[in-house]
Amino acid sequence: MRSGNFKVAYKTIRESRWQSSLTMFGIVVGIVSVVTIVSLGQGIKRQIIGEIKSVGSDLITVRAGKGIKRDANGNIQKINPDFVYGFGSGTLNDRDVAIVEGSAGVKDATPIRLLNGSAIANGREYVDGFVLGTNPSLPNLVQQKVEYGSYFTTGETSRQVAVIGKTVAEQLFQENVPLGQVVTIRGEDYIVRGVFEKFTGNPLGQGIDLNQAIFVPAPTLKEVAGTAAPVVRVLARPQNPNDAARLASQISAAIQESHGGQDDTTVLLQSENLQVTSSVLDKLTGFIAAIAAISLVVGGIGIMNIMLVSVSERTREIGVRKAVGATNRQIRNQFMAEAIVLSVLGGVIGIAASFVVNFVIKVTTDVAPVITWPIVLIAAFVSVSVGIIFGTIPAIKGARKDPIEALRIGN
């Protein structure tokens, strides 16, 4: 195909500006939506990975339930996507907590007990949140600062005190520093003695917003709620950060032994947590992008439609061109060039528009989408392919027209 074809094609497209821009619009929307969704996914992934990393790579998480499959070397082979979100159900007990706490090389450890249900303060009921029972070492383990007041200490583990997340303070107490106020959980009063800084990460798992949590001492919660507040996580940090992997497998083996040899818990390093989360995010992004890609197909059909119209409108022209010696191939290439120019122009405008949309999202929201070169290249490649795929049928149709018939039309 010669460059002259593209010049002629560009000229023809310019001449029917309205038609062409509407056609291109389909491609532009398709490219913008795919690029934006993928870049949003990338941005969110980067953000979450940053948050997970901020907790520290040596944190060991013991989860109730089995969500991953490891190969012989201990590398993750298969991930159950449901496992990443929420707390999961409980198969951990006090003995497991003791095993983790008692393991050689563990510096800090805490069980996380979960109690779902409402909390009441000043006659207001708070239903969005949940109550977590922890040890005093929690702020250290998840590397989170208490903004007002302080976390409970080892001496207060059986007292009825609470530290709350920022959202709880805002929604339940409707003030920033509700220190000394009382929150009622299951008929028991707890005195608020601290408010956490805003949690940016989800150290316990995706979909768990710790800003909505009320933290109370684990022994107190066990006493009050009993089996209604099962242990859903055990967090631990090794004395030596490089020892984390060995310690994790040691803990895993010990818990398995205590469960009668049944492997019904998951011990994850923070780096593995990262892997689990990003694999699920990638799947999700890919899925949404695939849906957005449908609009590209629609755009392609738009191009095909306009090319079919163009071919039948220009039947006479095809006849004339054939009469002066154009071969089928030359006619086909002319129309193909037109379709390709349309879709490439659409692609270029689409990519430019994606950068604009990207900028707008960055400025107006706290999500930072990331456009990477592979996405841009894929978008460019896709727009050319759309032109080729959807330009072929009309072009062949035009090229096959019988010159005599073609010249007769419009006579």
């Binding site: 009469a323 154009a326 030359q330």
Partner: protein, 290 residues
């Protein structure tokens, strides 16, 4: 050696009971440098013959030799290339591409030969100068008069130095003044050695040709050499002998047809007359072959 040699060429459309014979074993030789005018009523097979000579169509049977090459069995792409290199078309409705300038239109055939842009525009300009439109080369076709457009179309037909120029009623859409200019141009091309085959309904313009061929019902019924500048008597007569449908007939509609009816028997008589002529012409051909 004739430049065009057509032997027993037939063209059939449809099949079975619905078969239409557009050309019925037509044979004709055209020497290089001849100016052949083809006359005949609508549906007599003139256009089909032109399409076959112009390699736009393939004969159903028969042999066609164009400058010593058998071309009747060529594939469409080979025909396109032959068309590009050997044949120039001039149409009744001009058929310039409305979105290209006159210059680009004229240069179009060279584009398909792969001539570089600069060269083909230069060549197109030269040819436009030859037809007297050099100063209009950057105009769009719609900005030109009918006669000028047809001259540009002739320039397009000439640009590739074709061996044959096929003109399908070149003056059909022109007034008499413009017709005169266009015909003078074709005549000049003829004088400089071009081979021209022209279909026409107008007996007056056969005076520019040096050979007049009459067709009827897919056959060549008469083939006559005439001195340039003379309208052969038969050409004038032909227009009245053969029933012809014109725009006026269409406009007059039913009433005109009613008026036409009583003469049906007369037409039959004329047809018989023509048939006998045809027989005599084929007889003479056979004898000449022998």
């Amino acid at each position: 050696m004739p430049i065009i040699s057509i032997k027993d060429v037939s063209k059939l459309y449809g099949f079975g009971d619905a078969t239409t014979v557009a050309l019925d074993e037509v044979s004709i030789d055209v020497e290089a440098g001849e100016f052949v005018a083809v006359m005949g009523p609508s549906g007599s097979g003139k256009s089909t013959l032109m399409n076959i000579i112009g390699l736009l169509d393939r004969p159903t049977h028969g042999e066609y030799m164009l400058s010593n090459r058998y071309v009747s069995k060529l594939r469409s792409n080979q025909r396109a290339k032959m068309r590009r290199d050997k044949i120039g078309f001039v149409f009744q409705s001009f058929n310039l591409l409305p979105k290209l300038t006159v210059l680009d239109n004229v240069a179009l055939p060279l584009m398909y030969r792969g001539v570089s842009t600069v060269k083909r525009l230069q060549r197109a300009e030269d040819v436009l100068e030859r037809v007297g439109l050099k100063e209009r080369q950057y105009f769009m076709p719609k900005a030109l008069s009918g006669g000028q457009v047809q001259r540009a179309a002739i320039a397009r037909a000439l640009v590739g130095d074709p061996q044959i120029i096929i003109a399908d009623e070149p003056t059909g859409n022109l007034d008499s003044a413009a017709s005169l200019i266009v015909m003078e141009l074709l005549s000049e091309l003829h004088r400089t050695g071009n081979t021209i085959i022209m279909v026409t309904h107008n007996p007056e313009i056969t005076r520019y040709a040096d050979r007049v061929v009459y067709m009827h019902d897919g056959c060549i019924v008469h083939d006559q050499r005439t001195p340039v500048g003379e309208v052969p008597a038969l050409a004038k007569k032909a227009m009245y002998v053969y029933p012809r449908k014109t725009e006026e007939d269409d406009l007059a509609g039913v009433s005109a047809m009613m008026e036409f009816r009583p003469e049906k028997s007369a037409i039959k008589k004329r047809k018989n007359k023509v048939r006998s002529k045809k027989r005599s012409s084929t007889k003479t051909k056979r004898s000449s072959n022998a």
